[in-house]
């Protein structure tokens, strides 16, 4: 099986889940409270599990013999096709929550739409991801409200995080060249149709949390073309170090 178009699309989805999942795993041992230690670890595990299913499929679509480990551990930042939002560093807890809110408010309607995909593998991954993502979104919206309506300091930090990451939200709805064709074929959701649901979730959550929605201005782009910030390279260097030193090593 070799389908370069679908391969590139599925690889981008897998990279989103892995990079965000790895970022969240970096909180392990550092979360502010025990419940968050468990929550962030569990969300990371869900995302990495979803990434595995997608990488396995991507490997089959590519037909070059690369498995999930080869795709995750033996590509440089330039080869990663994830959204630039998910690679942003954890920052303080508010920045992590803002990143979760922005991504997950898109991911829930995305996976819901993907359950109707004519591609059976993608529909199967989506059916599981949809249920898990519903939990992730509740986690993000509840923390946004708690921080926004908490102390002056938590409110200040949450608003700063929303403002700082806003420039990475435009890319959530951008389609790669091949994506329109995949959407027309019923394989992929049309990202333009996700915008209304995302706006509703974001507006309701920010308003509930006494936070202000930033004005749209310059938006980052390029993640789907492998153009990333410096931070992704540092993250991958750490994540891939063992496999880079001992290629093919197995536990």
């Amino acid at each position: 099986m070799s389908d370069p178009t679908l391969f590139q699309y599925v690889l981008g989805l897998a990279d989103d889940q892995l990079v965000l999942g790895h970022r969240l795993s970096q909180w392990t041992g550092r979360a502010p409270i025990l419940e968050e230690e468990l929550a962030l670890g569990n969300i990371a595990l869900d995302l990495i599990g979803q990434a595995r299913g997608l990488y396995q499929y991507a490997g089959a679509l590519e037909g070059a013999g690369r498995d999930e480990d080869a795709l995750a551990y033996h590509r440089d930042a330039r080869g990663y096709l994830n959204l630039t939002l998910v690679e942003q560093p954890n920052g303080d807890f508010a920045q992590t929550i803002a990143r979760q809110l922005f991504y997950t408010a898109m991911a829930l309607p995305f996976w819901q739409a993907m359950t109707a995909s004519t591609d059976q593998r993608l529909a199967a991954v989506a059916a599981k991801a949809e249920k898990e993502t519903a939990y992730h979104l509740r986690h993000a919206t509840e923390w946004t409200a708690r921080l926004g309506d908490g102390t002056d300091e938590s409110h200040r930090r949450m608003q700063a995080a929303i403002n700082q990451l806003w420039a990475f939200t435009g890319e959530l709805f951008e389609m790669i060249a091949a994506e329109a064709g995949l959407a027309a074929a019923g394989i992929a959701p049309d990202r333009k149709t996700l915008r209304a649901a995302w706006d509703r979730t974001i507006d309701a959550t920010l308003s509930d949390a006494s936070l202000t929605r930033p004005d749209d201005s310059w938006m980052a782009e390029g993640g789907r073309d492998g153009l990333h910030g410096e931070d992704l390279g540092h993250m991958l260097a750490e994540m891939q170090s063992l496999q880079r030193m001992h290629p093919g090593l197995q536990w």
Partner: protein, 153 residues
């Protein structure tokens, strides 16, 4: 052939979940089926509770071990995602075992979580995420005991 599938089912259905040892993979609904292909090779189908469930690798190894002990060679374990696993797939026996080990079984739609110690339905959620992906943390407001609950999924 039928005998081989029945022997295989008997062997694998008693494999325990490593994170919930009193429950078998059949109790949890993780074991989807045992079939034989045209050549008589046994195929065991399992499904993960959560996409990232780290127990799946161990479960697969334990299935292979159980089959080998039952004298079944050359079997294959397949993981299937569709239809997605639901907490409604846990058997009545599985729910009873969960309650017995102090974990509230997943509530049905609209139902409240029942305290596994005093059976009160007046309970409150402490954290939606627990020690494993499939559990959350609760407290009973009648007997005041904290407990874990299997999440409805």
């Amino acid at each position: 052939m039928v005998v081989a599938t029945e022997t295989a089912w008997a062997a694998v259905s008693s494999v325990s979940d490593p994170e919930l040892p009193p429950l078998t993979i059949a109790d949890l609904g993780v074991l989807r089926g045992v079939d034989a292909d045209a050549s008589g090779r046994i195929i065991v189908r399992i499904t993960p509770t959560y996409s990232g469930c780290p127990a799946m690798t161990v479960i697969q190894m334990e299935i292979e071990t159980a089959l080998a002990k039952a004298g079944i060679k050359n079997a294959r374990v397949e993981t299937e995602l569709a239809p997605a696993w639901s907490s409604a797939d846990i058997s009545a026996e599985g729910r009873a075992k969960l309650a017995h080990m102090g974990i509230a079984p997943p509530p049905g739609p609209g139902a409240s979580v029942t305290c596994p110690r005093c059976e009160s339905t007046v309970t409150e959620e402490l954290s939606r995420f627990g020690a494993t992906a499939c559990k959350s943390l609760w407290r009973c407001t009648s007997c005041l005991e904290p407990f874990e609950a299997f999440k409805a999924l």
